[in-house]
């Protein structure tokens, strides 16, 4: 019976006296993880990158072989929640200062964070409710184009375009959800693929979207007179201008995590989980399955649009080919590899799938093949994803 007891076991055995150990586990993992990521980002040597991957793989192999280990870590993070949170925020805040002024490393981090948001958005659908959606890139693109068009043609403040773009994308999300609800499984997947391709083609063919040439000259945002195109100079440190967007993307990731957690630990998250598990049984518990499926499309589009807007302002040039079907597939892979319905896992999946191909450029033509092999190996090692879904915890113990 202990084998299946997920929360009670280790909790009961380590009532007190584990504080030092928990702090050590949390601090070790967070600082160690950040240090490994830093080495990974700044290293040019292929053997370092491959070596780090091996360390990563070994860590997950250890977790897979010794489930107790995973349990101890989970308990440590739960007991030291506030400490873990503060330390994590601290690391995120000082991280750009540790990048040796490398704008390339910051660029990778921004891209990875934006994709983390996209993966979190899709996770509401794919992870929580098991609804395939191959159109997340379309919502991403709708967000980017809405913001860019508003900022270029109407000179609307960048900060104001963010919510407007999100609302526009949400309307499209519901519009996709509506016909999609008449189908399910494979057919539903086909409807979303079609939607993604239609949006891509429309962006490609309309003149007011710039056609295949896209939109250029998207203005950079600014806060209190500080333009996001200028470097950050703080206490004698000089951070490249990318650091502005790094912090903006980090804020968006934080917002997404908060949304993900609030929804997961609510009646809505439970309803999504119910229809993932057994749609017929969910209906018979009074859950309006059609509404909750459409809601998942809406929430996915809403968050994806935020990522799209920030992407547009960051690169200041967008084209339809940034938002193709392949992008949607990549986002889906992130959710599946990282771990369905696990917030941290989904973010880890996004970082892995963005950073890996960049760092394996040495393999040249075989780069994507190598990435594919790594993904398959990880899935063989951890079929449930790197960080599988964890049972909910109510405040009663």
């Amino acid at each position: 019976m202990h084998g299946v007891d997920i929360t009670a076991g280790p909790m009961a055995r380590r009532q007190t006296g584990g504080v030092v150990q928990s702090v050590a586990i949390v601090a070790g993992l967070e600082i160690g993880g950040a240090a490994l990521l830093r080495t990974f980002l700044l290293s040019d040597a292929t053997w370092v990158v491959v070596g780090l991957l091996a360390v990563f793989g070994a860590a997950f192999a250890a977790l897979q072989i010794r489930p107790r280990l995973e349990e101890h870590i989970a308990v440590a993070f739960r007991e030291m929640r506030l400490f873990a949170l503060l330390l994590g925020c601290g690391i995120v805040l000082i991280y750009p200062f540790l990048m040796q002024g490398s704008s390339y490393a910051l660029h990778l981090l921004i891209t990875a964070q934006l994709y983390a948001v996209l993966a979190l958005a899709l996770n509401f659908q794919l992870g929580s409710a098991n609804i395939p959606n191959f159109a997340t890139a379309a919502s991403y693109g709708i967000g980017a184009y809405s913001s860019a068009l508003l900022a270029i043609h109407f000179g609307i403040s960048v900060w104001l375009t963010l919510p407007v773009a999100a609302v526009v994308a949400t309307v499209f999300g519901f519009a996709l959800g509506f016909p999609a609800m008449r189908t399910r499984d494979t057919y539903l997947a086909l409807v979303t693929i079609a939607f993604g391709i239609v949006i891509h083609q429309l962006l490609n063919n309309f003149t007011w979207t710039g056609g295949p040439n896209g939109l250029a000259g998207i203005p950079a945002p600014s806060i209190l007179g500080h333009s996001f195109n200028s470097p950050i100079i703080l206490l004698g440190f000089r951070l490249p201008s990318q650091a502005n967007f790094y912090y903006l993307a980090a804020a968006l990731v934080a917002l997404s995590i908060v949304c993900a957690r609030l929804l997961h630990h609510s009646r809505v998250g439970l309803a999504w989980n119910a229809l993932r598990s057994d749609e017929l049984a969910a209906r018979c518990q009074g859950i309006n399955v059609v509404w909750y499926k459409m809601l998942a499309f809406g929430v996915d589009a809403f968050l994806a649009a935020f990522a799209g807007s920030i992407y547009a302002f960051y690169v200041s040039y967008i084209a339809p080919d940034n938002f193709t079907f392949l992008v949607s597939v990549t986002i889906m892979t992130m959710v599946i590899v990282g771990g369905m319905d696990n917030t941290f896992g989904v973010i880890a999946g996004a970082f892995l799938l963005i950073l890996l191909p960049e760092k394996l450029r040495i393999f040249d033509d075989y780069r994507l093949l190598f990435v594919g092999v790594v993904v398959i190996l990880f899935l063989l090692l951890r079929p449930q994803g790197l960080f599988p879904q964890r049972p909910r915890n109510y405040g009663d113990h």
Partner: protein, 262 residues
């Protein structure tokens, strides 16, 4: 006069040439237990699927306390107070026991996306209250199950799966519960416990009614006041168990013609 709790009239459903249900009437009073028996393929589960809104009848109607619910979507029927369990239990296997029962309270809780995001405290409070009530509900059925409330439902043994499904059904404070072969796959001891559970639930919840599809004659003899017999989609008998069991038509349907005459 107060209308009966549930009143189904002339329910008919054909699948192609096969008549699954043919003009069946069913009336259920408040705080009543009705048992439905009949050979395999008699249309018992089809009847449940029609009442709970999973299938739609080609003819006939279902009324709940006088309100027509024939064409309501399944989730609205559940919210109106008609809940069910399934022949092969359909728990949310990848969720904990508490989660399963909290989901059962879906139609009695309110939090939507906006509340969850903008009033997180209220949403959290509602969920924690629901979880505590779910724990109490599980405990009232089985102390053993309560100890395992934070484990995954998929790991439960068969008898406990039934019990949890009943707990999930009761979570919405329903007016009536339909149990589809609750004792299937259970041994005698588990069946005795099931009978005791149902009696206790009846005592704790005045006004609650049950419709039970059952094969186990011990359960049929022990619990209901009224038994209805279906065969080939038709109602062939209705009455108290003692009368029903000696009817030649019923014996014929169950044991075959020869055995009945032997």
């Amino acid at each position: 006069m107060r209308p009966p709790l549930l009143e189904a009239r002339d329910l008919t459903l054909r699948f192609g040439g096969l008549v699954a249900l043919d003009g069946v009437d069913l009336t259920l009073g408040h705080s009543e237990i009705l048992c439905i028996i009949g050979p395999n393929g008699a249309g018992k589960s089809t009847l449940f699927n029609l009442i709970s809104g999973i299938y739609r009848p080609q003819r006939g109607s279902v009324r709940l306390e006088g309100q027509d619910i024939t064409w309501l979507p399944a989730h609205r029927i559940a919210a109106a107070g008609v809940v069910r369990t399934f022949q092969t239990s359909r728990l949310f296997n990848d969720l904990t026991l508490v989660d399963n029962v909290v989901i059962g309270m879906h139609s009695r809780t309110r939090t939507g996306v906006l509340t969850a995001l903008l009033q997180p405290r209220a949403a959290r409070r509602e969920l924690n209250t629901a979880a505590r009530r779910a724990g109490e509900l599980i405990r009232s059925l089985s102390e053993d199950l309560y100890e395992r409330r934070n484990t995954l439902a998929g790991a439960l043994p068969q008898a406990d799966r039934r019990r949890l499904e009943i707990a999930r059904a009761l979570a919405s404070d329903p007016k009536m519960v339909m149990l589809d072969e609750p004792s299937s796959g259970m041994d005698d001891r588990d069946t005795d416990r099931l009978i005791a559970d149902i009696r206790r639930i009846m005592a704790q919840r005045p006004g609650l009614s049950f419709v039970i599809i059952e094969h186990d004659m011990r359960l049929v003899g022990a619990i209901p006041e009224r038994v209805m017999v279906l065969d080939y989609g038709r109602k062939i008998a209705e009455g108290c168990y003692a009368d029903i069991r000696v009817m030649p038509r019923v014996q014929e349907a169950y044991l075959g013609q020869k055995a009945a005459h032997a």
